[in-house]
């Protein structure tokens, strides 16, 4: 200390106080910026062209974070095309998920007794709790989209070709990690949505020949999902999958820097990779151009995400999971719809007569000895990822030019179209045209599910509390309850929905009988608590017997359905 003080005193004596302070301040500043002086930074901020020699490359040799970034990009890769910044955004969303995830971890307990009440606590008692949960959930869904688009872009521009085959391979692993992280996070809220979506997902593993039951037992920790399964999914979600993800992200990113971002195909000679051979006049320095560009895209993405979560987006939370009650219309997460569609083969082939489709089912079950569910779900489903992973190793075409890759681009286009079609076919409302796989009960029960679903909200539950006037109301086109316009509107909506179901058959060929009458009953149970009951009297289209369907919900004044 004494020595430093002595030196400082000497410096002040020789150069004067002002110069000493300026020199010391600049020294500290350069330490913080890993080598940039105040003048350099001011030049960067003013958009000045770099002086020669360029001091702006110093942080790339001095600092860790800049050293993992390249010092310059090829001019042709700095426009929106060819990258669309999708790789950057994938990494950004991964980072957002980690940060928001750690915040949520503080307040979450992975046990069946506490998990759901942790969620309620996060929403109702943790500052920024609901906001961070919304960010985490929306970020996860957007991340699936961004990662998929990133892969699609890489395929279309042929950027997986030599020397970037392994980069592509690690990318496929990261895609699987993204889906795995998203799926394993699905169970953690421990609500009905989580419980049943994951029950469906893991029961597919159960169908695998030989190892299926063992895999299922390992995942669930018991024959059914319970405390063990929740803990395992939690550990997968917060430890194993992020760990693998970070390892592969590091490798993936190293490869990207090592080989450079591939140039637009039309700029390169066939079979040549010139991304790293950038003539000085084509170089765009990382500081300040690339950095500000990236910061801008990151800021835009963050702003859109944050504003969405502050305004319209709410992560769903249904009622506490109940292994004894399966809600109607339970579905897998949307990014697994294609897998659900795959399970419905051959019934999803358009215009294939049902007899032939059933024949194919029987042929598989009786002659080959496995059910289509096993074949398509367990064998073909994972093979999709294998097929993706080997694309760069089996594509013999050295050219990246669009005109010379007609076969591969066609295959890619068909594959994308197929995945989209399978996703469409996987939606529980059934396959287009044939309606196969339509999940639905009697038309009366479907009305009940539409207007007051088992989980989530229907229109009957959304009537403002004060307009739920106590009484019994016949469902007619001219409902006219005093001072309750929204109640009247919903009753009318119910009436027209019934008319539609009387006139057009559902994909199972079932219609609501023409003599159907319905009633909406509203009763007050407690102060601020009402019971709304839907009663439908109809003649069953299969047994011709008079039937009554009735379903009720309790609605509290503050529950905001």
């Amino acid at each position: 200390m004494a020595i430093i003080g002595k030196r400082l005193v000497n410096q002040v004596k020789t150069t004067g106080l002002k110069a000493t302070v300026a020199q010391r301040a600049d020294e500290t500043f350069q330490r913080l910026t890993t080598g940039l002086s105040w003048d350099d930074v001011r030049g960067i901020l003013r958009g000045d062209p770099p002086p020669k020699p360029n001091p702006r490359v110093k942080p790339h040799t001095e600092g860790f974070w800049f050293h993992i970034r390249p010092t310059f990009y090829h001019e042709a890769t700095t426009t929106l095309y060819p990258t669309f910044r999708l790789g950057l955004l994938s990494a950004l969303f991964f980072a957002i998920e980690i940060i928001t995830g750690i915040y949520l971890m503080i307040f979450y307990t992975p046990s069946p007794e506490r998990a759901y009440s942790s969620m309620i606590d996060i929403i109702t008692n943790v500052p920024f709790g609901m906001f961070v949960r919304d960010l985490h959930r929306l970020g996860a869904e957007v991340m699936v989209v961004v990662v998929t688009l990133h892969m699609l872009r890489t395929f279309i521009t042929g950027s997986y070709k030599k020397p970037r085959q392994f980069t592509w391979f690690t990318g496929v692993v990261l895609l699987i990690m993204t889906l795995g992280l998203s799926f394993s996070g699905y169970l953690l809220p421990w609500d009905q949505l989580a419980f049943w979506a994951v029950t469906i997902g893991t029961s597919m593993a159960d169908a695998a020949p030989g190892v299926g039951p063992t895999v299922n037992l390992l995942l669930r920790g018991a024959p059914d999902i319970g405390a063990g399964g929740l803990l395992r999914f939690y550990l997968l979600h917060v430890v194993l999958l992020p760990f693998i993800g970070i390892v592969f992200l590091a490798v993936h990113y190293y490869k990207v820097v090592r080989w450079g971002i591939s140039l637009p195909p039309e700029m390169e000679a066939v079979g040549e990779d010139s991304a790293r051979k950038v003539s000085p006049d084509k170089r765009v320095n990382f500081l300040p151009d690339i950095a500000t560009n990236e910061i801008m895209y990151i800021a835009i993405a963050m702003a859109i995400l944050a504003i969405s979560c502050a305004t319209w987006y709410r992560a769903p939370l249904e009622t506490h999971s109940n292994p004894l009650v399966t809600p109607n219309h339970t579905v897998a997460p949307w990014y697994f719809y294609w897998l659900q569609g795959l399970l419905k083969i051959p019934h999803i082939i358009p215009f294939l007569p049902a007899d032939i489709a059933n024949g194919i089912d029987k042929f598989f079950a009786n002659v080959i000895g496995i059910t289509p569910k096993v074949l398509w779900g367990i064998i073909v489903g994972p093979l999709v990822f294998v097929a993706l992973a080997v694309v760069p190793y089996v594509d013999p075409n050295p050219s990246r030019r669009y005109g010379q890759r007609k076969i591969m681009l066609t295959i890619g286009g068909l594959f994308t179209a197929l995945i989209l079609y399978l996703s469409l076919a996987g939606i529980p409302t059934g396959v287009p045209i044939t309606g196969f796989g339509f999940v639905g009960g009697a038309p009366s029960a479907e009305i009940g599910q539409e207007f007051m679903p088992d989980e989530g909200d229907g229109n009957l539950m959304r009537i403002p509390f004060d307009q739920m006037v106590v009484g019994d109301y016949q469902v007619t086109a001219d409902a006219n309850v005093a001072n309750a316009p929204e109640l009247n509107a919903i009753i009318k909506e119910l009436y027209y929905d019934m008319q539609r179901r009387m006139n057009t058959a559902d994909p199972n060929g079932r219609k609501l009988s023409a003599d159907t009458v319905a009633q909406v009953k509203i009763a007050e149970i407690q102060p601020d608590l009402k019971q709304i009951t839907l009663v439908i009297n109809y003649t069953d289209d299969q047994t011709s017997a008079a039937q009554e369907f009735s379903k009720f919900k309790f609605i509290h004044r503050d529950s905001e359905h």
Binding site: S117, T124, N125, T292, A306, A310, Q526, F554, H556, D558
Partner: protein, 306 residues
Amino acid sequence: MSIIKKIVTFKPGFNLRVIVGLISVVGFLSACAIVGLGDLSKALGAQDAKYTARSIEAGAKVYFEQCARCHGADGKGIDSQGPALNSIAFLGKTDAGREVQKSQRILDIGWVGNLDSYIRAVTTSGIPLKSSNQWEVIHPAFGQAVGGNLRDDQITDVSRFILNWAQNPATSGTIDSPKPGAAFVPKPTSAPLTPEQEAGKAVFLKNGCNACHAIKGVAQGNIGPNLSAIGTDAAAIITAADYKASQGKATTVEEFINESITAPGVYIAAKCPTGACPANVMPPNFKTTIPDADIKSLVAYLVSLK
């Protein structure tokens, strides 16, 4: 095509980047600020109210599935099934969440906690004591922890539902416990058996009386009369007309029970679990097969059942 080309080859200039970036940062920060300020003021409270409301809705479902059978759909109780919950005596009264009248029930039984903890405790583990002999049905233990079918969160829900009546509890038409006007009398726990009564209980079991007779907590036989309260029942029988018309000579409870064991044919009791009591079923030879001392202790045991 040229528009698309312009878009995909678009490269924002430095100034544009800084401006758009700054606007986005401001957008992000204001979204955070709006959420933060909202949380500080009343947004968390609104969420709290919303999820409490949904908890009450879930509790209503549990109540109508599990509780309404005995406590009534309106919560006013069902006579000889279950006491009123929607009652000013049970709930006291709250106004905007503040207690303005204390629950009489809590005061009666000297419960240390509040009404919510009492409701949870009773729902989970059953009623801690048979508080008056008004109720034939003992409260079941619903908590999963003690073998019932309700999870902890469902018990929380149902407690919130019941307490939701406290804003405006019913003041009439309720079946309260204790019955309106009656003093609250905790039922005394039964006195422990004397050594002689204990010996009599052993005699009862050793000689197979339990095959035909029921004693609450001891035996489940359903051929002969239920002896759970024979000490009280016998007193009524010896003064009844049909006994006086029979060959029975007993004038005290002890004599009657002794007579019923040693000479079962002289008087056939009227009411048995499956209908009228059958004659000639009880063996007539206990006087010779059971030592007198054993019969004496057996009588002493049965007399104590009240």
